[in-house]
Symmetry: none
Amino acid sequence: MPKVSEQHLEARKQQIGAAAFQCFARKGFHPTTMQDICAEAGLSAGAVYRYFDSKQAIIGSACDVTQETSDQELLAGAIETTDTRQMLQGLADAFFSRLDGPDATTQNRAILQLWAEVAVNDDVRGSFKEREATIADGMSAIVVEAQGRGDFEAALDFQSVVRAMFALYDGFRLQKAIDPSIPTAPYVTVVKALLTGSFWTGVVPEPAKA
Amino acid sequence: MPKVSEQHLEARKQQIGAAAFQCFARKGFHPTTMQDICAEAGLSAGAVYRYFDSKQAIIGSACDVTQETSDQELLAGAIETTDTRQMLQGLADAFFSRLDGPDATTQNRAILQLWAEVAVNDDVRGSFKEREATIADGMSAIVVEAQGRGDFEAALDFQSVVRAMFALYDGFRLQKAIDPSIPTAPYVTVVKALLTGSFWTGVVPEPAKA
Amino acid sequence: MPKVSEQHLEARKQQIGAAAFQCFARKGFHPTTMQDICAEAGLSAGAVYRYFDSKQAIIGSACDVTQETSDQELLAGAIETTDTRQMLQGLADAFFSRLDGPDATTQNRAILQLWAEVAVNDDVRGSFKEREATIADGMSAIVVEAQGRGDFEAALDFQSVVRAMFALYDGFRLQKAIDPSIPTAPYVTVVKALLTGSFWTGVVPEPAKA
Amino acid sequence: MPKVSEQHLEARKQQIGAAAFQCFARKGFHPTTMQDICAEAGLSAGAVYRYFDSKQAIIGSACDVTQETSDQELLAGAIETTDTRQMLQGLADAFFSRLDGPDATTQNRAILQLWAEVAVNDDVRGSFKEREATIADGMSAIVVEAQGRGDFEAALDFQSVVRAMFALYDGFRLQKAIDPSIPTAPYVTVVKALLTGSFWTGVVPEPAKA
DNA sequence: GATGAATGAGATTTCATTCAT
DNA sequence: GATGAATGAAATCTCATTCAT
């Protein structure tokens, strides 16, 4: 009966992964002990090791899980919208709404751990960059499109524009990880204003090349 | 002659702190062993423990050192400029130039470690938040001023504006920590464009409530 | 089946405690290393720490174990005897016979370590005094009884009489700890003589208050 | 000028020895660190090592110092008294008065440490036994004399009698080390009573072999 | 002679991992 | 499949001792 086994195996991995995730968000990867994970998962050490080869493997798995996989879908939906402003606002709402969920703080803190690990651990950096690249590609397409439509200044490096969008998201996530009481809504308003031209209300000089 | 001793003590602390900083940027706080730090500092374990009570103390010290203290000066200089655009551009140049220094990558990676630790370790969170608050206050003054001058949309929550500025900085730092080859200049151009109204070139709707 | 586990746990604690006891008697508490104890117990460091939280805990446990618990029974038996002389002789035989057992020297040396520790370590002093008090109470009852019967000089402070009895026991134990070859029997004879009036054979003056 | 040097050297040794003694009484030999001793003596580590080769040497020296050297004189004085009772009372007063001096507790606790060490450390055992033997010899002479005079039961093993006297002294010292509040006077009364026949007031049987 | 910074061996303790049951 | 006792390498930290100044 490989089906049952398969399912069971997947379920257990899930269970252990979720437990580990909690622990990691709470204490960080390295201070978390296997005992912590076992206790959180309600399993014995032996059991955990049946499903994961090592603590590193659990960390690796947690790193993979950490990044939302639905990013793609959000982007795919967005690109069909041809009104740039509307699309940006939709995207912003979609992305930032994830920072207000019930376990957003857990998520955010775990992601901080992930970033720190990625900066330092070659094993997880690879897949991290890959995933980032995928989303970045999706965003790039959107940015280029908007530039084509004449909504974003065409002279700007589109990759840097994508980076700025990422930064506005991740940088805020960082702040909420450290202080979860920060309200999301007014921040999103500012982000929308920045991206859609209602932030700066002063004089705008003639384009560089006049 | 306590002067000599005092100076020596400070110098050694500096030396050990710098060594630890390197290690932390390279491996993270917890995977770094005292041996690593001793080797990097060229000292024996006993010597290191004459200057720091524990590894935790070294981490704490590194966390304090990590944040640039010159932020204040930059802001102090900026607030005297009354041309908002010019001021923002100056600020952006000043801040972002720090991400291209010779050991910027070390700095950036160490800061990732710091963020991760702050999210998880009450002992370092306190002083971290304090320092952040100080800078945030400086920025707030600038933002409020700019809103007063009619350069930033007055309806925007000024705290959120500050957060967005932080995010644009820290979020990019995160990216450079993970991939140091990213060029800073085009990103700074985008940031300036965002903040000074030359990013969005499409139609700008009438203010929400006209 | 918690029974097995419970029993196992107790057995292991016993085993480790006994091993530690040997080591302590051989080298003293502080010069004994955990390695010594592990080796004596035939266990790894990790195993030992599953049953005791720290070396201090092992010392504490050894201190508790060190004092014979059967003292009470001896005294309980004694108090039923109404012939003071016979009772004292029985008690002396019972107590001192313990100084000639196979591992009496180990015991004696361990007790020296205990005394030294008690004088210096608040943590173990408490329970030590408690246990001593219990035995002292038992002895006191006997002494008061004997005074009531007119066998011991009534004017003597009964607590000091008890102390003298303790001293005759512990002081000899001290000697045997240092030189185990000292024979017990002639010493016991002297003790009996002292307590039952056949030691001093010279003139006895009239009682103080004549 | 060897004289000055000699004197200086002796003075420093004294100073260090006294400091060490305090520390030992307070914490025991092994938990006492060289730093403790240096601090107590008001000297640097280097200075201490100029006068003592090692910590062991300091312990050894402390062990030598610990035992009162005036024992001999007391005994020498005593043996000239021909009234056994008077002599015993004088001896008891002389010896026990030492347990009430200002730093008697320090002394007592240090001696506990010494005993524990002697039981365990061959290096100090030798000189300890020697010194004990000297005093024991002095006491033996007194006891034999008293037996000759018909004051102590002649059938008793004189060495065991000496041991009993030691025990009454050391055993009480042990008690005072642990609880310094115990009063000495009533105890001495009991000791005198035991040794001079006024303790047991009941019927005394005929000598074993009549 | 004196200092006290430095050494480095060694002590205690933890924890990822294994394996007999 | 699951358990959890056992392992032992490795980490943090201490402290007796030395030696340049």
